[in-house]
């Protein structure tokens, strides 16, 4: 999966969970719909869609699109579906 595919997949996950269109600037601090429940739904959905697995230590650091992308970039298996 290349960078563009990862970006598209993450934006799709965020948009589906938050129920509105998002861009690469999406972050928890500025989006009221990104509450604690949505946050966990996003993490579960990213795991499902991109084949990664967050550890207990990783979870607090996933507060924005950029942080999610950085994590996925280094953890996504090569064969993950776009």
């Amino acid at each position: 999966m290349d960078e563009a595919q990862m970006t598209a997949a993450l934006l799709d996950v965020l948009g589906t969970v938050l129920r509105h269109a998002v861009d690469r600037n999406a972050n928890r601090a500025s989006d009221a719909s990104w509450d604690s429940i949505a946050h966990m739904q996003i993490l579960f959905a990213v795991e499902e869609r991109l084949g990664v697995r967050f550890s207990e230590q990783d979870i607090p650091g996933m507060q924005s699109f950029d942080q999610l992308l950085a994590f996925v970039r280094t953890h996504a298996p090569a064969e993950a579906q776009p």
Binding site: V17, I37, M40
Partner: protein, 578 residues
Amino acid sequence: MPIPPTEAQAQPRSETSAGATGDAVETMLARVEWQATLFAENLSRLGLLRLQPAWPLNPLTVQIHRNHGFELVAIASAWLAWWKREVRFIYSAYDDSLSFNVLDDSADVHVVWVDLQHYGAAADAPEFADWLGERLHFLRNKTRQPILFAGLGMTKQTRTLVAERTAGLPGFRLADLHAMTEVLGPRMFDERKAAFTGTRLSETACLACARELACHWLPALLAPRIKAVVLDADHTLYEGVLAEDGLKVKLTPGHKLFQETLVQLRESGVFLAVVSHNEARDLQQLFESRPDFPLRWEHFSAAAVNWEAKSLGLRQVAETLRIGMDALLFVDDNVGELAHAVADIPSLTVLHAQADAFLTQRALAFYPALWTWGKSATDNLRTADLAAEDERARIQQQYTDPRDYLRSLHVRIGLGRARTADIPRLHELSQKTNQFNLNLSRFSEIEVADLAQGPASRVIALTLKDRLADSGMIGLAAGKLEGQTLVIVELAISCRALGRRLEDLMVSEAIRMMRTDLPAEHVVVAHRTGPRNTPARDWLARVSGQTLPPEGRVAIDALLCQSCCEKESITLEEITHG
């Protein structure tokens, strides 16, 4: 092959009915598209979140009393939307003490969502079951709505003890998470995210719990059960087309499991029927020549196998089974057939049998309002009782005097004051009986219990059997004393008990039993008009000798004074409380 329009479809429709029909078909088609996501072997949260209903929903408010996180189980809203409910969850604070100090009046149902791990080793002690039982009784006394308890980490022994402490609690059900824990094994838990989700349930378990809640637990608590599953044959019960493949149609592993699920449903009291475009003789021969089919021809309580429109066959099946069209679930692999059937019968519920029979099997197993908390004694009797109907009709033709007919059947009517154990069945009768239901009160279990146990009210349960079949508990009469008048607030008799002209005797004897406890000078029956209770209203008009207004109360002194001619032909007995 194009499907010819049925006679009903060929009729011109008014704009309104055409619109309503079109909406019903559109809704059906949209719901069919959801099946692959809702009943997938591996559920996808992302897939579920993408589902947005485009059909009207009825509101449902669920209050969650919890000591661990439920929010990720709230994805149950997807299956509930498929069941045409728009759910709103109201959450309590996390409360290990189960104080239930904030109850929301708007809740339709209360769910007690508890992880027993929070109580440590104490949760295995009998005293814990005592405490939990006391808390659940406390909640029962504070609300009139149904209560569901789902305890995570509950041992079989604790579950048994809690079941004992809550036995007979009306409108209360104990959900079984133990079975799910056994199936999922270590996949049930995910301690990694517990600090963030508030629960140690894994994502897999949250999704499985959501589906159980929305497809099994809540519908079985809130809605009447579907009474019959009506099946197409080709590409539904097996792979292939009988008219083309002959007796060699294929029973795939998925179709075998699907048939086994149907047999289990039948054993739990659901009628099976077949409506198929085939030659009836050929289809029967297929079932008789295939010992590998778990489903046998005799498992079908009704069949309409011909080349008529399937909606006609569905109506014939409903008539044979003596049930309403809204109590049927129609399963067919052809979306066009489903659309035609729904266009003719907008209230019909349907399931699309898909090429992957395993998917269809899961959809059937999770179809809302098919699952039951446990079959009642009457569920065991229903199919045999219906099968005896043909024989009764044959015997009836042999007699001109109805007394001789009844005498030949050895009819026995049982009457008894409602016991705690009878309440679920009496609730079911109040909810599901349509044709002989005079006041359509649709009592909850709690309301039945209140009437049964109140100082100035009674509920009488009626049972019926003859030499051909035991019909089980088939009716109830509920009355309240108002001054010197006994008001019969509900009178409901299952349609399986009708047709033997026993209503006069059953009702008069039930009222006589009530009056021994509640002396009253007068007896009146409360009644109201419903869409299908004409048989009951005709009966009341006859025994009261009055023309009935749409609703009200009417005296039936004449019925109570007359000596029923049937009485000498029938055995009356008081139900013993063994």
